[in-house]
């Protein structure tokens, strides 16, 4: 089954910062930006986690078939994964294997296919353990970023800035006629 069906990689140093909800000049914009970025990363990880859960469900069905599993069963399961958003190219590459790296293609059926599925099961298990830890970290990072944003709001209101509410659309500048009225 697809060991690369989900991408657990997170934005690295080259990733552009996420857009915040506050304008660039706002004093809390850096904190808000960090919060939005943490939210986006956590969303990605959640998405990957959901894909893993779907993969796990399909894999369990195939494992339950034991030696009776056929390549059609695998294809059916993979089609469900594609329907759930998995990249079909990755799944096809998985089925084809990579002889150069010693990865055999997916067997036709019988005991060999059951063994291949068991191997994928191990891979997914390792990824499940990994995604749990990553999710715990992104969840924590999101909570910390949220706390910093709240502390920022608190500090701003204490400085007399009042309640810094969500940014409202600004009125058109004077002299710029409202097209809806003309």
């Amino acid at each position: 089954m697809p060991d690369d069906a989900m991408n657990t990689e997170l934005p690295g140093p080259s990733a552009p910062p996420a857009a915040g909800t506050l304008p660039p000049g706002h004093p809390l914009a850096p904190l808000d930006q960090a919060h939005q970025q943490a939210k986006a990363v956590h969303g990605k990880v959640e998405q990957a986690s959901g894909m893993l859960a779907t993969t796990r469900a399909e894999l369990d069905k195939l494992t339950a078939l034991g030696d009776a599993v056929t390549s059609d069963d695998v294809l059916e399961g993979m089609s469900k994964l594609v329907a759930a958003g998995a990249d079909p190219k990755v799944l096809l590459a998985l089925m084809a294997g990579n002889p150069a790296q010693g990865t055999p293609p997916m067997p036709e059926g019988g005991t060999a296919l059951a063994g291949w599925i068991a191997q994928q099961d191990q891979t997914i298990k390792a990824q499940e353990a990994q995604i749990g830890q990553i999710k715990a970290q992104t969840q924590h990072a999101l909570g910390i970023a949220a706390t910093r944003v709240l502390a920022g709001h608190r500090a701003m209101s204490m400085m007399g800035a009042g309640e810094a509410g969500p940014v409202q659309p600004s009125a058109p500048p004077a002299g710029n006629p409202n097209p809806l009225l003309h």
């Binding site: 924590h140 608190r154 969500p166």
Partner: protein
Amino acid sequence: MPTVDTDLNPVPFNPGGDMNPLGVVDNVMTLRGKMLQQQQMSQMLAARQKFGQIVAATQASGGSMEDGLNAALKDPLVAGYGGELYAQYKQGLLANVQIQGEQQRQSVDGLGVVHKAIAAAGDDPRNFDKSVNAGLAALSPTARARDAEAVGHIKTMLTTNPDGTPADPATYAANRARWAISTGALDPGTIGALYGTPKEVDQGGQKAFGNVTSTLPGYPGAPAPGSFTPGSIVPMGVAPRTEVTPGGGSLTIPAVPPGAANPLTGGGGQGATPAPPAGSPNPLSAASSIPTTNLAGSPAQPMPSAGAGTASGKTTPTSTFGGGPTVAPDDILPKPVLGTNGLPVRTADQQGSVGELVKQFNEHQPQYDMTAQSLARLDNAKDNIQTLAKGGGWMTPGAAGAIRANLGNVINTFSAIVDPKAPPPVDINKVAAAQDLIKETNTLGFSLAHQMFGGGREPLGIVNDAISSVPGIENSPLGGMLVADILKAGATWQLDQRAFKQDWLERTHGDLTGADTAFAKLNPPSSYMGKVMETYGLGPKGFTSPEAVKSAVQNHLITSKMAYDQMKAQGMISDKVYNAAAKRDFEPTGSQ
């Protein structure tokens, strides 16, 4: 032919005659009454004017509002109407305070909601969830729109496992500790800086803690108002402390002086700007504050995850005494039919019986409080018994213990009178322990009477019976300790039952039907008592093993002779062994 008299004969005016004299008097009296009313209104108007003048003059001369009121009430003209004016003034003050309170509640922001929820939740993540929801509902619409999402993220971090299941209390506590470590937001200094301290308000003679004034702008080392540099956020100091890491290790958080490195931003203090996200675009690097090694340098344990407790990912709290669950399983809870508004639909009869149970539950609160307090008293009594029993001697608990304790005190007093430099003949610690135990016995007696009968006005006979039922100096050491622990088991059973019912109440929309029976079935009182007997190595026929007897001797609960007598009676040792021991050990011991 009949004649008609057409002459008019007017009746002459005759005041005082028979021409409705009362009506005239009535009219006169009404007029007089109205004149009096007018006169009173004029006086009241004048009194009010004077009241205002006196109060204004007093305040103008440096007096307080209260001084002005007192001065006004001393004036003969004003005093007659002063009560009404005074009440009106106080009513105005009250309204003002209420408005201030409402404003204060409204102005609390999302961080306040989180902090308050953490304080209110204890170790129960469900309480945190409820408090956060209540806090968000009380926020002003603008603050709610602004902060709700961030509060939700903190809530998820604290109360949800990575797999989406709700965190159990232990995981919640670990998450909270990690959050506190990463933000430094929970130490008292920080909270004081964020929320300030209550300010004493003079409400016309009555001092009250009404307004909360933040110390943030004037915090030592903080920027002066107006010179705050955006980005430094909260340049507060943080006291040093030690936190428990999720892996069970400890992590020392060093002190942060005010204005130095900012624990909330991770950047510098005043004037410093926080590290821009581009510098560490991967938010996982922000999570580097999660300790990856413990103090010994070895890798920290992985954080608790779902399934750490049981296969289902949930841990059911159990009683320390009986071992049974102190939270009702879902399948035994009554399932009310819910209406479209999410509230249970009940007939009038059902509503009545449900309401009655809740009423009884609430009425038992004072008994619950008393029971909770009695636990600490029982522990104190046990400590005193152990102190007295240690080493044996004059003050050993048992028959005539109170008399002996008083006599010991008398002997020490006389000794101090005769020879102040001589050491007291009776151990003063034991005398103190005995006196404390006697007092504790009386208090526990009243407490037990209240616990059993619940009224607080029990007859003296019942109180005396209760006193004789609690551990005291008249009990043997083993007896006293046993009585104390059995009462503790009973009190713990009641406290567990209360917590069980509280949880039941919350999960069934206020229906306590069956909660008592369910708790008793899951946690029979005998299991609590059995645990106590097991602790002392006691069974229905006495000590269960020679080791239990030995332990009782080592803990000064019984003497060696009692131990050998008991073992012989229970057939644990032969006559030969008993006689040899008697020869060797049963010599009289020195007393104190």
